[in-house]
Symmetry: C2
Subunit: 73 residues, 2 copies
């Protein structure tokens, strides 16, 4: 299991869902009350995101964590 | 969003799936190459588990991370 690949896969999933909302990274980071540059580093796959941050992100997309993780491997 | 509730929900999901495998915590911790007491603390909801550990756990259950997170809220 390659953590980098997993993190990139998750970052792309977030980017795809965020684009669907028509939000900029800054707007989205504000919505999840997360530092913009930290959120930006999630999207480029540089963060081993924790459960609580997965939940924050899923909540703003109004989906479950399970739905958020669909296709993330 | 209450992190403690989320962590407990995830811990119970792991316990349920592990019971389905008929594994002890020690056996399962060995399978995922994780310290037994650390894994035990995940099951009782005391850990804000990271993406890479979610993947390790899902891989041993031979399910996707999305399936692992089903019902975890």
């Amino acid at each position: 299991m390659d953590t980098k690949t997993l993190q990139k896969s998750f970052g792309m999933r977030c980017k795809e869902l965020r684009a669907g909302l028509g939000c900029s990274q800054e707007q989205f980071a504000n919505l999840i009350e997360m530092d913009r540059s930290y959120y930006a580093s999630i999207e480029v796959g540089r963060r081993n995101v924790s459960l609580s941050n997965l939940k924050k992100i899923a909540d703003v997309f109004q989906i479950t964590i399970s739905e958020l993780m669909r296709g993330v491997e």
